[in-house]
C-alpha cells in the first residue's frame, strides 16, 4: 500500500475537532443552532476559527489532573495546620468574604454562560473553546469554595454565600453585571466575558486578590491563584481570538462589537470599584493602590491593547477618560459608603489606623487629605465616643450599575452626579453619563433590573425593617458592623493571645 502524506499538527487538530461536524441534511443549521444570528453578528466561515492551544481532551485531563493533585495537597495541609492563623490579621478575611460572595458566583455564572455559547455557536472550534472554558470556570468556583471552606469554619460572613448572592443589596452589582451578559445572545456574552472582562479587566480582579493573599499570608488562596493562572491565560487568549475572529468575518460586526465593548468595559469598571476599595482599605498589607493598579493595567496595558486593535477599527471604550478622572476618588467614596452601611453588610468595616491613613495620603496626594482623611478621622473619633456612625436609610441605586448614587463629579468633588431619564412614564436614576447611556440604548432590558431597595420597599425582602431584611439575607449579628467590635476580632485576639491594645499596635 502506498504510504499517504502524513497530516501536520494543524490538520491533526482539525481532525480532532472541526472535522467531527458534518453537513446536516435532516435538519437545517438554523434549527440546530437557532441562537446564532439574532444579534446581527455575521460569520461567513467558521472554519477560519484558529484555536491557539490545540488542546485535546487527553492532554487537558493530564495537565489539569496534575494541577488539581497539587492544589488539593496544599488545601489539605492548610486545614491540618490551622493555617488560617497565618494571615496578617483578621481584617484580611474581609477581602475573602467579598471574594466568596461576589466573585465565586460569577465563576459559576461563567461556567453556565460558556456552556450556552458552547452549544450555541455553529463552529466546532468555538464550541470546544467555550466548553473548555466552561468546565475551567466550574473548577474555579469549586476550588475557591474548597479553599475558603477552611476560613468559613473559623470566621463569620462566609457561611451562606449563594443565598446572599441572590438577595443582598450590594451583591446585585456583580449579579446584575453577569446576568446582563447571560441574558444576552452568545456573541454578546463572549464579548462581555471573554474580552471585556477576561482580557481587559481580569488583571485588576485577579492581581489584587491573589497578590493580596500572598502579601497577607493567605497561602491557600495564593495556591489557588497560581493554579488558576494557566487557565486564565488560556481564557485571555480566547478573549482576544474571539474579538479578532468576529471583526475579520464581516465589516458590519464592528459597530455592534464596539458598543458591547463600551458597555461591558464600563459595567466591569463599576464592578471593580469594590475590588479597588478592597485594595486601598481592606488589605492589612497593601499591594498597590487602586490608582496605581488602574494606571498600570488599564491606562498602560489596556491602551496598548486598544492600539493593537485599532487596525480593526476598534477604539478605546467610550467613557474611559471618566474612569481615569475618577481614580483618585472612587475607592474612598465607596469605603465610606460601606462603612456607613456596615450594619447591613456581610463583612466588617473600620477606619484605617494612622499609618494606613498616611499610606493613603501618599498614594492619593491630590485628594485624600483634602476630601477624605478629615471625614475618616472624624468618624474614628465618633466611634471612640461610642457613636459609631451607621446610615439608617436605604441607598438610592444607579439603575444600571446598581452601586449607590455616591460618586461625585471629579471636576467638582463635593457634588454628587445625578443623571436621570424617563422611560415608559417612569423616572430612572444613574450615577454617570455612561450608565445613563447604557440604559438608553436598551431601556426595555435595563428597566427590568431587580433593585434591592425598591424590592425592600415593595415588601419582597422579608419585611419592612432592617432586621427583617437582614434575617432574610441570612445575616447573623456577627456578620457585619464595626470590625473592632466583631467576633472575628475577639476570636483572633484570643487565638493569637493578644490583648486588644497589642492588636491595635
Amino acid at each position: 500500500m502506498e504510504q499517504a502524506k502524513k497530516m501536520n499538527m494543524k490538520e491533526k487538530y482539525n481532525a480532532m475537532t472541526g472535522d467531527l461536524a458534518w453537513d446536516f441534511s435532516y435538519k437545517t443549521e438554523a434549527e440546530i443552532f437557532p441562537l446564532s444570528d439574532f444579534e446581527g453578528i455575521k460569520i461567513e466561515d467558521w472554519s477560519k476559527w484558529q484555536d491557539p492551544f490545540r488542546l485535546t481532551m487527553d492532554a487537558y485531563w493530564k495537565y489539569q489532573g496534575e494541577k488539581e493533585r497539587k492544589l488539593y495537597a496544599v488545601i489539605d495541609a492548610f486545614g491540618q495546620n490551622n493555617a488560617h492563623l497565618g494571615v496578617t490579621d483578621a481584617r484580611y478575611i474581609n477581602a475573602l468574604k467579598i471574594f466568596l460572595t461576589a466573585v465565586t458566583p460569577l465563576e459559576y455564572g461563567a461556567h453556565r454562560g460558556f456552556a450556552m455559547t458552547g452549544r450555541a455557536f455553529p463552529g466546532v472550534g468555538a464550541q470546544v473553546a467555550s466548553q473548555m472554558q466552561s468546565i475551567d470556570e466550574l473548577r474555579h468556583a469549586q476550588t475557591q469554595l474548597h479553599t475558603i471552606s477552611q476560613y468559613n469554619k473559623y470566621f463569620d460572613g462566609l457561611h451562606d454565600p449563594f443565598h446572599m448572592f441572590d438577595r443582598v443589596w450590594y451583591l446585585s452589582v456583580p449579579k446584575s453585571y453577569f446576568e446582563d451578559a447571560l441574558s444576552a445572545g452568545p456573541f454578546e456574552f463572549i464579548t462581555a466575558i471573554s474580552f471585556s472582562f477576561e482580557y481587559v479587566l481580569t488583571n485588576l480582579l485577579f492581581m489584587p486578590f491573589m497578590s493580596g493573599a500572598a502579601y497577607n499570608g493567605d497561602m491557600a488562596t495564593v495556591n489557588f491563584g497560581f493554579s488558576a493562572q494557566s487557565d486564565e491565560s488560556r481564557h485571555m487568549t480566547l478573549g482576544l481570538e474571539v474579538i479578532k475572529f468576529m471583526l475579520e468575518q464581516h465589516p458590519d460586526n464592528l459597530p455592534i462589537i464596539q458598543r458591547w465593548i463600551d458597555k461591558y468595559f464600563w459595567r466591569g469598571y463599576r464592578l471593580l470599584g469594590i475590588v479597588g476599595m478592597m485594595m486601598d482599605y481592606m488589605l492589612p498589607k497593601r499591594v498597590m493602590s487602586w490608582k496605581e493598579g488602574w494606571e498600570m493595567y488599564f491606562e498602560q496595558n489596556g491602551k496598548m491593547l486598544f492600539d493593537d486593535l485599532a487596525r480593526y477599527g476598534i477604539t478605546m471604550p467610550k467613557f474611559w477618560e471618566q474612569s481615569v478622572e475618577e481614580k483618585e476618588h472612587l475607592t474612598h467614596q465607596l469605603w465610606l459608603t460601606f462603612y456607613s452601611y456596615g450594619h447591613a453588610a456581610a463583612f466588617h468595616t473600620w477606619i484605617p489606623d494612622d499609618s494606613e491613613l498616611d499610606w493613603l495620603s501618599e498614594k492619593y496626594p491630590n485628594t485624600f487629605d483634602k476630601y477624605y482623611r478629615p471625614r475618616l478621622v472624624y468618624l474614628r473619633e465618633q466611634e471612640k465616643l461610642g457613636k459609631r456612625f451607621y446610615n439608617p436609610s436605604l441607598p438610592q441605586l444607579c439603575q444600571t450599575c446598581q452601586i449607590p448614587m455616591v460618586y461625585t463629579d471629579p471636576k467638582n468633588p463635593t457634588k454628587r452626579v445625578y443623571r436621570e431619564t424617563i422611560y415608559n412614564g417612569d423616572r430612572f436614576h444613574f450615577c454617570s453619563d455612561a450608565c445613563k447611556e447604557i440604559f438608553e440604548h436598551e431601556p426595555e432590558k435595563m428597566s427590568q433590573a431587580w433593585l434591592p431597595p425598591h424590592q425592600i420597599f415593595q415588601g419582597n425582602c422579608g419585611g419592612a425593617t432592617i432586621p427583617d431584611v437582614l434575617k432574610h439575607y441570612h445575616f447573623t449579628e456577627n456578620d457585619g458592623g464595626e470590625f473592632l467590635h466583631s467576633r472575628d476580632n475577639a476570636n483572633w485576639n484570643l487565638w493569637k493571645g493578644l490583648t486588644p491594645d497589642e492588636e491595635a499596635a
Binding site: Q3, A4, K5, M7, A15, D19, L20, A21, W22, D23, S25, Y26, K27, M57, D58, W61, Q64, G65, E68, R69, L71, N82, Y108, G109, R112, A115, G118, R119, Q127, V128, Q131, S134, I135, L138, R139, Q142, T143, L145, H146, S149, N152, K153, Y154, F155, D156, H159, D160, F162, H163, S172, K175, E179, L182, S183, A184, G185, Q448, A449, W450, W495
Partner: protein
C-alpha cells in the same frame, strides 16, 4: 511569627456552609463533593429577561416537564466535582496512552485482516460524529438544566464525549498511518452510506430536542444504552475472535467509561422517577418514544457490523437496557 498551636484550643464556629447543612440536615463536616455542588446556582431575583427566550429565566425549572421538589437530589453517585473528575480521567488517559503506544510499538494494526480494518473504518470510526453530537447534547443539558448536581455532571459528560470522539479519531488516524484517508472514508459513510442514514437522522433530531431531560433520556439512557453494548461489547468481541486484541485495547477507555456513565445515568433516572408518578410516567413515555426509533435505526448498522450475529447483539443490548430501567423503577 511562629504560632504555638499546642497552647490553643481552636474550636470551629461551624463545620460547613449553611447551604450544605440545610441540604444534609446536619451541622457536621461535609464532603468536598457536597460543598462544591449544593446551592451554588442562582435561583431567584433575576434581573433581565433573556433576549434568547420570551418566557424563561436564565436558570429555569420549566426548561423540562420533569418536576423535582429539590433538583439537588439528583446527586452523582461518583461524587464528581471538577477535581475528582479530572484526576480520575487523568489516570484513565494515562492507561489509554499506554494502550495506544503498546499497539503502535508492536505495530499490531499491521496484522489486522483487511476486511476487519475496513469494517472498523466503516462501522466504528463514524461514531466519532455521534460522540460529537453527544457532546453538544450534554452541553445543552449543562447550559439549560437546573441545579448543579445534574448540570455539572452533564458538563463533565460533554467533555468526556469530546475525549471519546478524539480517541476514535486517533484510532482512525492509526488505521491509515496518519493520512486522514480513513477519517474521510468513514465520514463519507456517515454522511451517505444508507446503513448510517437512519441513525444520522435521529442524531440530528436529537440536536433539536428542546426538553433537556428528554434529551438526557434519549441520549444518555437509550442511545448510549444500546450503542455502547453493541459496539464495545458485541462488535469488540467480534474483532477479537481472530486473536486481534488491538481494538479492545484501543477502546478500553470507552468500555470502562460506559460502566461509570451507567451508574450516573441510572441514579438520575431512579431518583427522578421515584419523586412522583408523573415523573415516572413521563420518563417511561420518553423511553417508549425513543427506544423503538433508535432500535430500528441501529438495525442496518448492526447488520454491517455484526453480520449474522446482528439480532443477537441488538437483543443483548435491549435486554441490558431494559434490566437497567426496571432496576431504576421505571414502570
Amino acid at each position: 511569627m511562629q504560632v504555638d498551636i499546642k497552647s490553643l484550643s481552636i474550636k470551629p464556629l461551624r463545620n460547613t456552609f449553611d447551604q450544605v447543612a440545610r441540604f444534609t440536615g446536619s451541622e457536621k463536616s461535609a464532603s468536598r463533593y457536597l460543598e462544591a455542588t449544593i446551592g451554588v446556582q442562582p435561583e431567584i431575583n433575576f434581573h433581565y429577561q433573556p433576549l434568547w427566550s420570551k418566557n424563561r429565566s436564565i436558570y429555569d425549572k420549566d426548561n423540562t416537564v420533569i418536576v423535582m421538589n429539590d433538583w439537588y437530589r439528583l446527586l452523582d453517585p461518583r461524587q464528581y466535582y471538577y477535581g475528582a473528575w479530572t484526576i480520575a480521567r487523568s489516570k484513565q488517559q494515562d492507561a489509554a496512552e499506554r494502550n495506544f503506544s503498546f499497539v503502535e510499538k508492536r505495530n499490531m494494526l499491521a496484522s489486522l485482516p483487511t476486511d476487519l480494518r475496513e469494517k472498523i473504518i466503516s462501522v466504528f470510526v463514524p461514531i466519532r460524529h455521534m460522540e460529537y453530537a453527544a457532546n453538544l447534547n450534554n452541553t445543552y443539558m449543562s447550559a439549560y438544566g437546573y441545579g448543579v448536581s445534574i448540570t455539572q455532571a452533564a458538563s463533565m459528560c460533554a467533555m468526556d464525549r469530546l475525549g471519546i470522539a478524539q480517541y476514535i479519531t486517533r484510532i482512525g488516524l492509526m488505521l491509515d498511518g496518519n493520512s486522514g484517508d480513513a477519517l474521510k472514508t468513514s465520514k463519507a459513510a456517515w454522511q451517505n452510506n444508507p446503513a448510517w442514514q437512519p441513525i444520522r437522522q435521529l442524531t440530528e433530531n436529537m440536536l433539536t430536542t428542546q426538553d433537556w431531560f428528554e434529551l438526557f433520556v434519549a441520549q444518555n439512557l437509550v442511545l448510549d444504552g444500546l450503542m455502547y453494548p453493541l459496539m464495545y461489547q458485541s462488535f469488540s468481541d467480534l474483532t477479537s475472535v481472530s486473536g486481534q486484541t488491538s481494538f479492545a485495547m484501543m477502546t478500553e477507555f470507552m468500555s470502562e467509561w460506559f460502566d461509570e456513565h451507567v451508574r450516573w445515568v441510572d441514579s438520575v433516572i431512579k431518583v427522578a422517577a421515584a419523586e412522583s408518578d408523573s415523573n415516572n410516567v413521563q420518563i417511561g413515555k420518553w423511553i417508549q418514544k425513543w427506544l423503538p426509533q433508535i432500535l430500528q435505526a441501529l438495525q442496518p448498522l448492526a447488520q454491517e457490523a455484526l453480520g449474522e450475529a446482528a439480532q443477537a447483539g441488538l437483543d443483548a443490548a435491549v435486554a441490558q437496557l431494559s434490566a437497567r430501567t426496571t432496576k431504576s423503577g421505571i414502570n
